[in-house]
Amino acid sequence: MIRDYILLGATLIVAATILLIFPDRVDIVTTTSWDYFLEMMVILPAVMVVMGLFTVWVSKETVVKYLGKTSGIKGIFLAILFGTLPTGPLYVAFPMASSLIKKGARISNIVIFLSAWACIKIPQELVELQFLGPKFMVSRLVLTIIFVAIMGVFIEWMIGLSDKKNSSKSTGGENGASI
């Protein structure tokens, strides 16, 4: 966190230096930045509140518990839902996904959960709505959900296929040895 503030200071110094060299650009750069600053500040506290609520109310344990035992269409929906609610960067989700595998959850659900976590989280979507507009946000959201669901099922099928090949190879070997 302190490193981020130092980085911010450095960025400010670099920006100020550039603007000193090109004084004719000061107006456009400061106006643009100020506009984006205002646009961000009118939504950021709200986005953080939503994020904070999800962090406290949807625990990792709940997610793992429910996702571990649900399959089929219901599993896909639950995976998407649980992916959209909790917060934090993607690498927080990897250990959760790993414990889901150990619990025997469907590969499709795990892949869908990870992808939903990565790109269709609700606080994130609120910021997308603000800066890219409702049409863009909704169409990307719908397309992403469709393709992520297909990808989950496809990856599960691929993994199943390669596991079957491996197991048939090994049983074939055993049979050969017994004969």
Binding site: L12, A15, T32, Y36, I43, V56, A97, S98, L132, L143
Partner: protein
Amino acid sequence: MNPTIIFINLFALGCLILAFTKDRAKTEQSVKVAVKSFFRILPPVLIIIIVIGLLLGFVPPSEISKVIGEQSGFDGVLFIALLGAILHMPAIISFPLAGSLLKSGASISAVAAFITTLTMVGTATLPLEVKELGKKIALLRNGISFVIAIVIALIMGVIL
């Protein structure tokens, strides 16, 4: 005030009131988490805002459009998708950046590809993903995500 801003703030307020009626202590804890998260995300947000100011102040839309605009075609989409796959930054700050690119000459497809690969494909976090989920799942997930990001981007370009 535009409707989007009102909607976002009402949504947050609604969630907050609902949570408060259910469990006061938990809600207070949530607000504390929110305040902490706000100050943690603030520096990257301010940095990206400065970068956007400089970008729009110094790079003319015609230049942005040449690299990732309509005339750049599929190469432009592929280029920015790769950039998104490699870069590692919080999604929240990628949206104002994407919005500013869109306003100054980038195509819908390019912007959609950038956001989608940025969030779904993680080159920087790939080693960790391999460690936790195994090589097969991690590589398939990232590889296929890259492809579907481009498909999504191209469809967005057609429908919007």
